[in-house]
């Protein structure tokens, strides 16, 4: 397959943070094809968020090549080839739902009627009809995250980068948002690179799961998720689902993730951010 048919291509990507000399990523090779849903999974401190930021040209790799949509990552960012969603929705308090969604479009210089038309489509897509004029603080966590997803999709980027987008939501909302995201992914036909530390979430959503190990962040293995599409609530109950969850968990253990050890969360997150 030629390189310009590949959405993301990482070869030999390493990242060492200047402060503290922490080696966040070592020799990462990964290719993401169009229409794939790839999850990056690993314990806190494995550099999965850093890797996502490297793809988005928000963090510069120390070594290696990052190609997005056939271009260097920097050019891809300037061309707005990807949309970003964080764990927190990061909405602007002073803007309504509709205005939050249209923010990237304003930056792109779309005129008002065109923005309004696109916002209408997106509101429908993320099922927030009736909340257009609400302010972020009037929405639940799940609704805020839907606004963030709509905002990321607003300018139709071919690639969506999602950094634990549902990590702050309760289990029930999370499962509902998983279904929503799959529906949006299928409707929009884009490619998604998704960071999570939930094994079940990764297996349920993805076409492939990339398993990472901590310090330095490395890829331990890649699991093809051959569950039938479209995924439904029943998918989580298939025997194959449990087999794949086990496979991912085994890879995590082999990579040095100790499920028995207590985790000092904050310390590891600080290490991951390179603080």
């Amino acid at each position: 397959m030629s390189e310009n048919q590949i959405v993301v291509s990482l070869s030999g990507v390493s990242k060492r943070f200047a402060t503290g000399g922490l080696e966040a990523l070592r020799a990462i090779d990964l290719e993401v094809r169009p229409g794939e849903f790839i999850s990056l999974i690993g314990p806190s401190g494995c550099g999965k968020s850093t890797l996502l930021r490297v793809v988005g040209d928000l963090v510069q790799p120390t070594e290696g090549r990052v190609v997005v949509n056939g271009k260097p990552a920097h050019q891809a960012r300037l061309d707005r080839d990807y949309g970003m969603v964080f764990q927190d929705a990061v909405l602007y308090d002073w803007r309504t739902v509709a205005k939050n969604i249209s923010l990237p479009l304003e930056l792109l210089g779309w005129d008002r009627p065109r923005r309004a038309e696109r916002v209408r489509e997106l509101i429908e897509l993320v099922e927030l009809g009736g909340f257009e004029e609400h302010h972020p603080w009037e929405l639940s966590g799940g609704m805020q995250q839907r606004v963030a997803i709509a905002r990321a999709l607003s300018f139709r980027p071919p690639l969506l980068l999602m950094d634990e987008p549902f990590g702050a939501l309760d289990e029930m909302t999370r499962e509902r948002m998983n279904m929503e995201l799959l529906r949006i992914w299928q409707q929009s036909g884009g490619t998604i690179l998704f960071v999570t530390h939930s094994i079940a979430e990764a297996v349920f959503l993805s076409t492939r799961v990339v398993v990472m190990s901590p310090r330095p962040g490395q890829i331990v293995g890649v699991v093809e998720i051959d569950l039938p599409q479209p995924r439904t609530a029943d998918t989580r109950e298939y025997p194959r689902f449990f087999e794949l969850v086990t496979e991912v968990r085994e890879l995590l253990r082999r990579g040095g993730t100790d499920f028995d050890a207590p985790v000092i969360e904050e310390e590891l997150i600080a290490a991951e951010e390179g603080l």
């Binding site: 707005r80 308090d93 002073w94 923010l103 930056l107 603080w137």
Partner: protein
């Protein structure tokens, strides 16, 4: 709304009662420390308010009319000074937020500017601007602006830096220019900080205008009135007290005007509203 009105009237009545109670009891025990209390040093509230409706001089207009005109004059100086100071203060913050080097280099001098007493600066401003064909009151506005810009610069700097780091990352992911980041993210994020500073600055601009009138030898404002009634304090202490009352009301009016504009402009989660 009714409750707030009642609280306001209640507190006002309590303050008046406290004033009068102190006066009565101090006079009863012949208090001499820290100062002797009598009608000259500590007039009745009703005498102060009453003075407003006495002629300001023989066959002249009532004091309140004179002070009303003076207050309008000072308000003009303070308002222009506030606009000037807030604009300059904000622009300084915008420049400094984009360069750590400039920030570290210039901030000490900005702080130092406020340690120089305004009374030392004011005559120079009057001399510099006096010969430029500008109206005399404009020098006073510049002096007021000198007091105004400082809180605005400091708070605006803080406010412009208050944007969520991930919101800044998001802006970078949209390949937004510095200018767009400033207008779409930094400035809106700074508004609560900015208005907190405006409230301080608005009252400071009134103080600056009153003080600025003294070296500028401007007779038409509250500063001139204060200077004038100061000279006649022995014969009519209530005139000076009444002038101070009007000056305080002018400061409150400026403060409330900012609160009103803030209500219109700042849209924020309820817990974020200062």
């Amino acid at each position: 709304m009714l409750r707030r009105g009642l609280v306001f009237v209640g507190v006002l009545a309590a303050l008046v009662a406290l004033w009068e109670a102190f006066k009565i009891s101090a006079e009863a025990v012949n208090l001499t420390w820290p100062f002797p209390v009598n009608d000259r040093t500590f007039p009745h509230i009703h005498d102060i308010v009453g003075q407003l409706f006495e002629p300001s001089r023989r066959n002249g207009p009532m004091l309140i009319e004179v002070l009303w005109d003076a207050a309008l004059f000072t308000a003009k100086e303070a308002f222009v000074g506030f606009l000037l100071g807030a604009t300059v203060g904000f622009l300084i913050a915008v420049v400094l937020v984009h360069s750590n080097l400039l920030q570290r280099g210039f901030l000490p001098y900005i702080v130092a500017s406020q340690t120089v007493p305004i009374l030392a600066i004011a005559p120079m401003v009057v001399v510099w601007l006096g010969g430029r064909g500008l109206p005399g009151w404009f020098s006073v506005s510049v002096i007021a602006a000198y007091l105004t810009f400082f809180p605005v610069t400091i708070s605006a700097l803080r406010g412009l830096q208050s944007a969520d780091p991930r919101a800044l990352e998001l802006m970078r992911s949209y390949a937004a220019s510095r200018w767009k980041i400033l207008w779409k993210l930094r400035v809106p994020a700074s508004l609560p900080y900015l208005f907190a500073a405006f409230k301080i600055s608005a009252t400071a601009s009134v103080v600056g205008a009153i003080i600025g009138e003294l070296p500028a030898s401007i007779q038409d404002g509250l500063g001139g009135a204060i200077l004038n009634f100061n000279q006649y304090y022995l014969s009519s202490p209530t005139s000076l007290w009444a002038t101070n009352l009007v000056a305080a009301l002018l400061g409150i009016a400026f403060f409330l005007a900012i609160v009103g504009v803030e209500r219109l402009v700042v849209r924020r989660a309820p817990e974020h509203v200062a």
